[in-house]
């Protein structure tokens, strides 16, 4: 399953990481190198093995429904690159 530059481009787009056109091919090589190496997993017989999602052998704890937080706007906005009137301000979203 070798990655071509178009796929790398698509992945970069999905990950919202800009990659210069000239860097696509070397990046594809790097990623293929790693993916080729991980493909040794195909050797493992995983029939009947459930995919692990957590090593903690527990179930979800549930929180009591109570308002214990919020109303901390200053703390929420403290590190904002841009804010106005209590809002985060971001580049215009085009619908």
């Amino acid at each position: 399953m070798a990655l071509d530059t178009d796929t790398v481009k698509r992945i970069a787009r999905l990950a919202r990481i800009h990659v210069d056109e000239a860097d696509l091919a070397p990046l594809a090589d790097e990623l293929n190198n790693i993916l080729g190496w991980v493909e040794q997993l195909d050797e493992v017989d995983t029939d009947g093995a459930e995919p692990m999602t957590s090593v903690a052998e527990m179930v979800q704890r549930l929180r009591v429904d109570a308002v214990t937080d919020g109303d901390v706007r200053d703390r929420v906005l403290a590190n904002a690159p841009m804010e106005a009137d209590g809002f985060f301000v971001v580049p215009k979203v085009i619908e």
């Binding site: 399953m1 990655l3 796929t7 790398v8 992945i11 970069a12 787009r13 999905l14 990950a15 919202r16 990481i17 800009h18 990659v19 990046l27 790097e30 990623l31 190198n33 790693i34 993916l35 190496w37 991980v38 493909e39 040794q40 997993l41 195909d42 050797e43 493992v44 995983t46 093995a49 459930e50 995919p51 692990m52 999602t53 957590s54 090593v55 903690a56 527990m58 979800q60 704890r61 929180r63 901390v72 200053d74 703390r75 403290a78 590190n79 904002a80 690159p81 841009m82 985060f88 971001v90 580049p91 215009k92 979203v93 085009i94």
Partner: protein, 490 residues
């Protein structure tokens, strides 16, 4: 009397209790040492004023007879992955430029509640992705050790990673102990490279709340310290059940230091055949054998065991961890905190911010993670890796029938030079070949400095225990430590 900075946490605590020196004096000694050792680039941000204020408060508590415990007045370094209120918390990344959290991680809060003193935030591989502390936006941290002979004699060496700043600081006596985090070996491998003890607790033992996430199902905080006893003291303070972390386990925290009885008679020590890998240097094999002998001499029973999926742990890790990271790192988008690089429009702002904000290794892993989760590849990569992970956990489960701890080397080599393995990610990943299986199974594991390599660099031995078997793990580690009698210093 030895320099204050040479004291272990336990010794320093005793000195404070006896009034031989104050926490302020101890802290000032560290602050002075930190200044002198800045060339190591261990600290991203030093917090001397905070340290002195905390030290004074500690002295006041002690004077009033209210000392909080073994860590009261002990100066510590905090890995930059922990969010610390008002202090820079960047995960070693450009994308968190200037980020000062308005909150304190549970683990660091636990430490402060125990009276510990914060010296500053220490360097690390960016977002904990690396094994050499060379991916930090703040530049590499140097290992205080240098080879005494061989081709690399005198050259700058890496401290290991990702908790490289933590390990270097503790080894260089510019922190009495440090917090680290371990996702695939990030506490144990730098611990081994710097000749100190690195302990990764059971997944769920230390809260992840306020720790910047790399791979949520693997990340675990733990201590780096100069002795097993210090590690026990630190873990006892760091660990807690935290309702704010759904994966935190609701079990009481035992007195880990009390577990260091030195008595391992009858303890069954498993030696896994699959860890004898081709290309492992003879000095590593030899040290491993020494470890076996030391434990046997102390009364342990040595058992040959098999962990058949060992070799697949690393490739499976390099699917699972990047997959989780690709999602965990999506919040670094330039919208609410950290770096924003303006583009022509929103999408370009995202793409420029993340392209400039993340370093190469982080981008590579985010891309891999995005790919293995994407439509059409999820089953072949991600699900497959998670099934392999189940097999790895099953291997250990089976092993616990015949042994109580597992002994292996920590790393396949001693510290390497800055610049080595930089261009070969897989060569770099192989650093964690011995540490990753325990991470994948969520098990507690510890690296203990056990000897010097042919060129005079520290090497570690690695013990793994069943989940929540920290007491057994520490007891065995303590015996290993005594037998090895490792006293060398950088």
């Amino acid at each position: 009397m030895a320099a204050l900075t040479d004291l272990t946490i336990a010794q320093a605590g005793a000195g404070l209790d006896k009034g031989e020196f104050t926490a302020r004096e101890l802290t000032d000694a560290y602050l002075t040492a930190m200044e002198a050792a800045r060339s190591l680039n261990a600290y991203i941000e030093e917090t001397p004023e905070r340290a002195q204020t905390m030290a004074d408060a500690s002295d006041a508590r002690r004077a009033a007879g209210n000392a909080a415990g073994a860590l009261d007045g002990i100066p510590l370094a905090i890995k930059d992955l922990f969010c610390t209120e008002g202090a820079l918390s960047t995960a070693g990344s450009h994308i968190l430029d200037g980020f000062r959290p308005t909150y304190e991680s549970t683990v660091t809060q636990n430490l402060w509640d125990s009276g510990a003193v914060m010296l500053g935030k220490v360097n690390m591989d960016e977002f904990a992705m690396g094994s050499a502390n060379i991916t930090s936006h703040y530049g590499p941290t140097l290992n205080p050790w240098k080879a005494s002979s061989g081709d690399n004699a005198g050259k700058d060496l890496v401290p290991g990673g990702s908790s490289g700043g933590s390990a270097a600081a503790v080894a260089a006596r510019i922190a009495a102990g440090a917090t680290g985090t371990d996702t695939g070996g990030s506490i144990r491998q730098p611990g081994a490279f710097c000749g100190i003890v690195g302990l990764k607790p059971t997944y769920g033992r230390c809260s992840r709340w306020g720790v910047i996430a790399f791979a949520s199902s693997l990340d675990q905080a733990g201590p780096l310290a100069r002795t097993v006893e210090d590690s026990a003291l630190m873990l006892e303070a760091m660990a807690s059940f935290d309702p704010k972390d759904s994966t935190s386990v609701d079990l009481p925290v035992p007195s880990y230091a009390a577990a260091l009885t030195g008595d391992i008679r009858g303890l069954r020590v498993g030696v896994p055949a699959e860890y004898r890998m081709d290309g492992t240097p003879p000095e590593i094999e030899a040290l491993w054998q020494k470890g076996v002998d030391w434990l046997r001499d102390a009364g342990a029973e040595i058992v040959d065991i098999s962990l058949p999926h060992t070799k697949y742990a690393l490739p499976a890790y390099y699917i699972v961890a990047p997959a989780e990271a690709s999602s965990n790192l999506a919040r670094y988008d330039g919208m609410r905190f950290g770096l924003r690089v303006d583009g022509e429009d929103l999408t370009e702002t995202y793409e420029r911010t993340r392209a400039e904000g993340f370093g190469h290794e982080v981008k590579r892993r985010v891309m891999i993670g995005t790919y293995v989760l994407s439509a059409g590849y999820y089953d072949a990569y991600y699900l497959k890796a998670q099934r392999v992970r189940t097999r790895i956990a099953d291997d250990f489960r089976a092993a616990w029938d015949s042994c109580d701890v597992v002994l292996t080397p920590t790393t396949p080599s001693s510290a390497f030079t800055l610049g080595e393995k930089q261009d070969d990610p897989i060569a770099m990943y192989l650093n964690d070949i011995f540490t990753v299986p325990a991470s994948m199974a969520g098990l507690p594991a510890i690296s203990v400095p056990a000897g010097l390599s042919d060129v005079g660099l520290p090497l570690g031995l690695h013990l793994i225990a069943p989940a929540f078997g920290e007491e057994t793990l520490l007891r065995a580690a303590g015996v290993l430590e005594s037998a090895a009698g490792f006293t060398a210093q950088p």
